[in-house]
């Protein structure tokens, strides 16, 4: 079928601001939006730029706004978008070119969460694994799925208002460690999140949860971190 794709274009070396260009191309309904973009880049306009790698929703490269909502281009099929597709970069990060945003601020926020396992105790004497029950493991399973695609953070109205907010993705990363029974730095992370630009900036707008391509219940994870802060209970 023929589809109409309206794409946000911006060339930093020529344009003062972005504009929209419309392309009419042939596509199959089982094509991914990413396939459509690849086709346009390959056959219509080679200058179109976007990030991609895995092409099946596990690397987090190609978050963009498709028909007004954050998604991964490789996980969105033409079948679901219909014949009119608008593709724009994610909101709230500087734009480098076309659909490519500057991800540095996003990763900076992630890095503030001490996003690594901290346990200063010596490893078990026999050199084997630290034990963890299946329930303890299940406690943070959901947030280990995060691929740092930024769909959530760049859909959050609080983050749009203020890029200093750490954003849902960072809190998801914090959640992954705070609720890991083997980790020992929950207190440090909670104290970082208790700052003004921390978790208080979340007003349960819920855009993040809807945007997450890994179907992480982001708002719920944030809520759990808030309650951990209030009650001090980590299980």
């Amino acid at each position: 079928m023929e589809i109409t794709v309206k794409i946000f274009r911006y060339n930093p070396e020529k344009d003062q601001r972005g504009n929209y260009v419309t392309y009419k191309v042939e596509a199959h309904e089982n094509d991914r939006v990413l396939d459509v973009l690849e086709y346009i880049k390959g056959k219509v306009d080679g200058t179109l730029s976007f990030r991609r790698s895995c092409a099946h929703g596990v690397c987090g490269s190609d978050a963009m706004r498709i028909n007004g909502r954050n998604m991964l281009a490789c996980k969105t099929l033409v079948r679901d978008t219909g014949a009119n597709i608008t593709v724009e970069p994610i909101l709230g990060l500087p734009i480098k070119k076309d659909l490519i945003s500057d991800m540095e601020p996003f990763f900076d926020n992630y890095k503030k969460m001490l996003p690594y396992f901290i346990n200063e105790d010596p490893i078990p004497e026999n050199g084997r694994e630290r034990l963890q029950s299946q329930e303890e493991r299940a406690r943070f399973d959901e947030t280990t799925k995060c691929i740092l695609c930024a769909c959530c953070t760049t859909s959050c109205p609080s983050y749009w208002a203020n890029g200093e907010y750490y954003g849902p993705a960072a809190i998801v990363s914090a959640h992954r460690f705070i609720f890991d029974s083997r980790d020992q730095a929950a207190d440090e992370r909670l104290n970082i999140l208790a700052e003004t630009d921390g978790i208080a900036r979340c007003h349960t707008a819920y855009n993040c949860t809807e945007a997450c391509p890994r179907e992480i219940k982001v708002t719920k994870a944030i809520g759990e971190v808030k309650m951990a802060m209030i009650t001090g209970k980590l299980d």
Binding site: A161, N162, L190, A194, I199, I230, K233, L234
Partner: protein, 144 residues
């Protein structure tokens, strides 16, 4: 394999921060307002509002149990509505609502203002606002 519970102290979990405290205050004050409103509503019904007041007037009283909110109704005897008790309830509701509302404004401002200085100014204005609103409101309630 057994699971051991992990618990953090107040300080460890960030409960000492202004934001966390205000977050919990916002929820608790919301519940408190519900409780006070419900209380005023029941009070009004007990005092005979069912026969002498229309819905709008009852709601007005419920949201702020201040006698001036019933003066324009058909209630024949204002005495039970004018007690110090109700004045205290009204003032409590006022204080909770002002604190909640003004902090709400701070939250909104914090969303948009990220500079250290800007936030300090907002905090200052909000303190002034909260104090003046509370004083003026309490004065009106007390003298009405």
């Amino acid at each position: 394999m057994t699971t051991k519970t992990r618990k953090l102290s107040l300080k460890q979990r960030g409960m000492m921060s202004f934001e966390t405290q205000m977050w919990i205050f916002t929820r608790l004050s919301a519940l408190a307002m519900y409780a006070l409103i419900l209380f005023a509503l029941i009070g009004a019904l007990v005092m005979g509002a069912r026969y002498q007041m229309n819905l709008a007037d009852v709601m007005r009283w419920a949201f702020m149990p201040n006698v001036s909110h019933v003066q324009s109704t058909n209630i024949p005897d204002l005495a039970p509505w004018m007690t110090i008790f109700w004045k205290l309830v009204a003032i409590a509701l006022l204080l909770v609502a002002t604190a909640h509302g003004v902090h709400g404004l701070v939250v909104i401002a914090d969303d948009y203002i990220a500079s250290e200085r800007g936030r300090k100014i907002v905090r200052f204005i909000s303190m002034v606002m909260m104090a003046s609103m509370s004083l003026m409101g309490a004065y009106i309630i007390w003298t009405s």
